[in-house]
Symmetry: D2
Subunit: 340 residues, 4 copies
């Protein structure tokens, strides 16, 4: 069989863009790492080194910086602007644009929050132009385009977060699993449950299109991001867990229940094992107090939660269906690494 060029994409990765909004003396900061990747008719460069159609990755980088001059808005909106620009090139039939956002807080904001019982009304907390980078993980966004089938410029818009480290010191059990020759794990009714949450959710095409056309720089996406993050964390906190799988599915389900504008969500959660230290050799008990936090290996739980146009399955009490017949797979997922 002849050897052929298969799927391919190229671009510039991790363009580090820091945007200072100086519209008022109270600066605002946007800190992004942006990746732009193009797909299309690029056979000539692969086969013959003919670059006549190759929008240089350096040009892609320059475009990111030039577009930032007009403001960035939400990462979803900024990526969509890039996507629409590159899709105007006839040789480009698709691509993916990804952003990772670092959060910053104003220095001193936490102090004034403490005194929030009697704030100066209308006065936000913290310094006007000095910031400290926050933790709690990073916000992510992804815009995916594929016009190869019908020429439609429809964009899939995903949002997410990564490396949000969570821990419950109780309210987690794990038992009832099968025991075979290789099973040594004891059953436990109280354990530490910890993970580094990574999630991606996909907005419905209708919602994405209207949010991008709203003319507000995608502010809607910022509101959604904050809400989804809260739901994920509070579901993790609130659910008494019988398995990390149960917790992760519940987190995704809670997001879909509250957000009809989200079509599906995928979560990837390591099980960051915290082993109760055996203090008996030292004549000490250890009633769930002293733990060793292990590095490797770790459990790894990956779950997609989606919507089905099929009838609800009667097997589960709450009408939630099992693993059969989700809606057809969206092609964007094939481009996201490390996921089911």
């Amino acid at each position: 069989m002849p050897i052929v060029l298969g799927a391919n994409q190229y671009g510039k990765a991790e363009v580090r863009l820091v945007r200072v909004d100086r519209a008022t003396p109270r600066h605002r900061l946007t800190d992004l790492s942006i990746t732009s990747q193009l797909r299309g008719d690029f056979a000539a460069t692969h086969l013959e080194g003919d670059n006549a159609g190759v929008i240089a990755t350096d040009t892609q980088k320059n475009t990111v910086y030039a577009f930032a001059r007009d403001g960035v808005g939400s990462p979803e909106a900024f990526l969509a602007r890039l996507a629409r620009h590159f899709l105007t090139f006839p040789q480009v039939t698709g691509g993916r644009w990804v952003a990772e956002q670092f959060a910053w807080e104003r220095i001193g904001a936490d102090r004034i929050a403490v005194a929030a019982a009697r704030p100066d009304p209308g006065r936000e907390a913290g310094h006007d132009h000095s910031f400290v980078r926050s933790g709690g993980g990073r916000r992510t966004a992804l815009v995916h385009a594929d016009t190869s089938a019908d020429g439609s410029p429809g964009l899939a818009v995903l949002a997410g977060l990564r490396d949000v480290t969570l821990l419950k010191s109780t309210g987690s059990e794990f038992h009832g699993f099968p025991r075979d020759r290789y099973t040594t794990l004891p059953e436990v009714t109280d354990r530490v449950l910890a993970t580094d949450l990574t999630a991606w959710w996909r907005y419905t095409d209708e919602f994405a299109a209207s949010a991008l056309d709203a003319g507000d720089g995608g502010a809607t996406f910022d509101v959604r991001y904050d809400a989804v993050r809260s739901i994920l964390l509070e579901t993790f906190a609130g659910l008494h867990s019988l398995a990390l799988q149960q917790t992760v599915f519940a987190m995704g389900k809670a997001v879909l229940e509250s957000h009809p504008e989200i079509a599906e969500i995928r979560l990837s959660c390591p099980n960051n094992h915290h082993f109760l230290v055996d203090l008996e050799p030292f004549d000490l008990d250890n009633p769930g107090e002293v733990f060793f936090a292990a590095d490797r290996p770790y459990g790894l739980i990956e779950v997609a939660v989606t919507r089905s146009d099929a009838e609800p399955d009667t097997r589960s009490d709450d009408g939630t269906r099992g693993s059969a017949s989700p809606a057809a797979e969206h092609p964007v997922w094939a481009t996201i690494g490390g996921f089911v």
Copy 2:
């Protein structure tokens, strides 16, 4: 639409296994990081926290260590052993098993190699039980199973390498690309070309099945790995490059040309920019000698090279076809992160 459980998988990641083969005083060392992930009928744990079918990730880890007692062989063969074991559980309908292998050399082996003109015949170089870890990237392997369609226990076997850092100090050009408002990159006829090669190739089902059944611990895979690695590096070295895309495609094509037992190969190559430093302000020329090696951003080139059952395309001189009509996508690729 009702909310349903979509695709899901779980397991234990990065089980660090070091196996010492002490069959003779000349020890052999196998150093692996192994990930085991299962798919199947796990709805109950997600929906209700019922773990009756959940083979604990701790059990998966134990199985890795227990199986290693009988020897490891090639990583492909070891993963296939794990796959076949876990597929005997009725609730498991598929999974993926991944290995990353660290290479070690015998201490002193390089010295004796220098004296290789008159070696003790039959005597390999280096110390019997003392080793230094090699660089040059890591070998990878992946076994993928999906019996959900037809119950077939066929295993897809992939091999690869990652983080092999390559550099050409000449023999690379980049010009002829389009110039738009955002293009500032100069055209160059001599540049440094550098990358960190990551590649995955998939063996044909026929070859994989026979190699796994050969009863030699998968030694065939070791031979193939060495050969493919050499082809990749020597093609990088030998090709006068007009674009990194051209180089990467040629690397993959050379592998497929020499190895009919490989069905397809995918390569992911950052363009590690080495910028010629402008020494003119210091009244110095810089004829391709002094470079700044940048970290971010970097170009990113991802290419699949595959075989087609279609007629060869006459557009390209060498009968290699363009981007149309590759054979149908193998489902394993959806499970490999960071690839086209």
Copy 3:
């Protein structure tokens, strides 16, 4: 000259200890990485492999976990407990014990803070036993012992923080530096100033001794840590900077001015360059809005601020002396990596 054993130390590094305080249903979490290193009469193991005096590093690890059973308190107090324990072994004449602490917030705490105008009095915010790891760097502590001179069990107690990422979007200039053949940097009166702050401060022996003897688990150190961190950040924010050196010295000086119980402080601050992107090729201006955040190289500023028993220097307007005659160097600094 004969070859001799010089300085040496050994121990266990990065013992990952997570302590859950379950005294009430409102759990408290302490998350530490602890390193224990011993010095003393260990010549026999080095010279002859005679381990009769070698307190195994595994035993040091066990001791950390066993001591944690009684509670941890401040990291300084916990390290001092370890130090005093190991100093009871006759062969141990000194050592260093280091902790790095990860901060966690209660899930939901930020939400309730927003509603803080009408809180339930006496009710803290956030979930009782579910946490999200905070950013903003890590707290560090170090206890150093050296009884080799006089047998005194006096402990030097240091506290610090690391990887606190700070940025000012204005209020920073850099000009007036000398220009030689190799100088191309333009002078600027408005730039982004960013750093990852690492600092260590040493408490006076008097203060350390009384704080360790207070019987409150070292709570005083927690108060000091919060206060010093605030001073460092607010000085960074508040000072109009003419050089990162000036900012860093001012940060240290502000700490010493407010905290007579601190003998000296050392700061290590990369200059995380944010380069204004040249948008002129795209017919755009860039009035301090679009920046490229570079990775390497970076500036690196390291400054010790200390107290002198000498007369104040009249050269500086504020009575602060220059570089001459600091108090004699404390031996602990030789054990802290990456510092002046």
Copy 4:
């Protein structure tokens, strides 16, 4: 007591320099990360933001690149050139210049080595201008200057290596250590011993001065580096180990014995624990074959080996003295992080 500026230094860190030597079509590659730090009369910038004496870190970076135009030679020689240049500024009284070098091999060199029984005489192996980066750790160098005492421009020259990962699969015991309440470690007569070797050695002032003046770009240092690396590895391999301390001391001692031009050496070696997996629950024995390679915690052994002008100690059989009375501490060690 008045607050004063203490020790301070500043400069540019991790300047990534790749130098291609194109003197012949057989290119040679030098790949360095260079840090330059200056000490001296910099009180004005710290106290008042007066930069009149501050050689900009950007200028230091430019100087690195400009000097590389003339060739690099050994890292020690290149750093000394930088040191001597910066010491010509009257405000500079000292500094430290550090290099980390990445090794590259020619692509194909290993193949031709195999055929080395009948090589083309005078023809080295491998491609002329295509390279693959080697592993086996990184070479380091450091030049330290301090003229503050006597104005002498004497340079201390150190060389080293880091992250050389070593493993012995047998020939290592650990027993005879004391057992207290917290000791659970079993005694073993056969274990895996593994480490990531970091070492720094200091050349005598006489040797350094003459090697730097030899006019050969410091080629002598390259020869010494290769020889010391071999001694370190072969001592690790050859010594039957009763403790990692014994191995590490022996490694340093072997270097000093063979190299009178080296005044002292310091080694920092984690004990990368490889735990024998308990396979008994699976009805399997494990005669030293299946190991779990742990990440954290790890042992940490740090040893200085030096020369003494005192009489040899009669306590040790081989005339090697114990821990007392090494020659006075060289100030350079205070500037090297993570060492005893």
